[in-house]
Symmetry: C2
Subunit: 385 residues, 2 copies
Amino acid sequence: MRDVSIVGIGQTKVGEHWDKSLRQLATEAISAALSEAGLERADALYVGNMLSGEVSAQEHIAALIADFAGLRGIEALKVEAADSSGAAALRLGYMAVAGGLMDTVIVCGVEKMTDAVSSATAGAALALAADSDYETLHGLSSAALHALLMRRYMYEHGVKREDFALFTVNAHRNAASNPYAMFPRPVTTEAFLKAPMIADPVSLMDSAPLADGAAAVILCPGDRAHRCTTGAVRIVASAVATDSLAIHDRRDPLFLEAAYLSAQRAYQQAGVGSADIDLFEVHDAFTITAALSLEACGFAQRGQGVRLAQEGEIALDGRIPICTMGGLKARGHPVGATGIYQIVELVEQLRGQAGVNQVKNARLGMAQSIGGTGGTVITHILEAP
Amino acid sequence: MRDVSIVGIGQTKVGEHWDKSLRQLATEAISAALSEAGLERADALYVGNMLSGEVSAQEHIAALIADFAGLRGIEALKVEAADSSGAAALRLGYMAVAGGLMDTVIVCGVEKMTDAVSSATAGAALALAADSDYETLHGLSSAALHALLMRRYMYEHGVKREDFALFTVNAHRNAASNPYAMFPRPVTTEAFLKAPMIADPVSLMDSAPLADGAAAVILCPGDRAHRCTTGAVRIVASAVATDSLAIHDRRDPLFLEAAYLSAQRAYQQAGVGSADIDLFEVHDAFTITAALSLEACGFAQRGQGVRLAQEGEIALDGRIPICTMGGLKARGHPVGATGIYQIVELVEQLRGQAGVNQVKNARLGMAQSIGGTGGTVITHILEAP
């Protein structure tokens, strides 16, 4: 297998893009990434997206985007794995380049949530990540499922709702200097505590916002990366694992087994351990998800995920900085695009281009993308140039 | 890159499975394929499906199916490319094994159309393969789009509606002895002519039926295939190409450029030409599609596709047998599963296990799967053991 490098990145601002369609958003990110890599075309385009069918009445979007981006004829496929669809597309691109089937690949994550008739429609669409026969049928939304997890976590570990506040405070502080973030402004613990409840104990401030956005990266074999850029970031691990979609069917609802499995596979592939990771783009769709992911990946003991936030360990100068450009909570969570936003942000950090958000001496960055409540988890580890 | 072989196949009967859910259908096909290969597990599962979100209110189905099939933890991803979703999943599995990332891969195509509230709902969902802003918005259904193509073809090439009849007659004749076919019975040219019109000139007898079904294949590296089976069928070419989704945006609406491109790429990869292909599983979603695909792949001159049917060349003992187990028209067209049904049928033919439908001395078989009206086209060529 060949080394795989990221040689170009592109992203749109995350937000409510009422004036731009799905294909326009994707093309904006793709054009920016191609341009940064100094390329006009690539061998293939892999698109991550979850909800274009339900929200935009459009399937078959990989070919649609390829055409709109001026790449007609190219191999183009869409991959879907709920919230981890973007990371899944990167997995596909990694396989194509590592395996020697493609030399240059565009990977794009895109989601357009504002095309939905109402926020209820968008919320209902998101619930399709859960088990429709055993969870959604009973009225469980995404927020409600995470409320069950958060309540149980609080009970099991003697944690209070306010203990989760610093995840949100940290994410918003980092977003403040990210021009692509949906909410580039700090929030206080007081604001967290006053936020309206969505599904007790999950409040608005525990929840990442639905949004529109697209992000893209260009991949090529490591030994050709110098032709494109001097800041090539190597993908040293790419791993997917799955679990039951339904929470009730897991051995332990508070242990994200697929997160553990995919992190272990990634560590093994990269030949590293959790202590070697300099920063971690965590999937903070909800604050509870951030805590559970940190624990499953070995950054905290069981029940200690929230302590990391309270002890300042997740800050830019902490032991394991997370959400360094705002995370899902403050950069925004355009579902199928999020996995690629995480990668774009890691590349900025590992190139030393993260400005005031720069994590010092960042050499190894990890991103973990979680589908639903943990049915699919995809982990990538990137290495600085 | 490594050689890739198919060492196990499985399929459910195509039809209206009111008593079986999507996950049950997929598991049935996967279990049959694993059992044939003598395996209990594999390294990864790639699922092709188009409409689970719209029709079954369920996204995130790769992890769901992995879990239900007893494969919890495994890497599992879903790929979507409209009608060619099944073939796209095979493409993904091929890349994983050829590139050395996986040793054993399950590829499953599955579609459950009968979960739709009504046939209108299923039809509307299918139309998501077309360009929603420029085609579907104007009321163009899948049948209507193909009616435009068929009418134009008749005008340009001086062909009559009844000239398409023998595609349907051939498909149904071959389905009669396929226990997995939805319509295992012959039809006559008279029945074709009397069929009710759907979108003039496309009648019921020009159109493949929507259906439920699942099919699966097991892939492994060529040099390990002997461990699983003595009838390993090699994948000698795998190619994807795209075109604009919208027909009006193509240089020539009657030339399927992506079909041409993907066939050319496949021929080049396999080092063969169209004359070397012994049988061709064509994407006869509509009779006009069969004609256009035959022409784009080099089996007939422009405007001569229907002549192949009229001259008996597409029969089991003809120059280029098509729809050898019934094709989309008579075996049925469970959209995202169809691409894998084609592969399963090719494997049966190339192993010499096709019974009374056996194509004599079949050495090279080709399958082409077409998304929408030709926005994505995926071609695979398989070689006999």
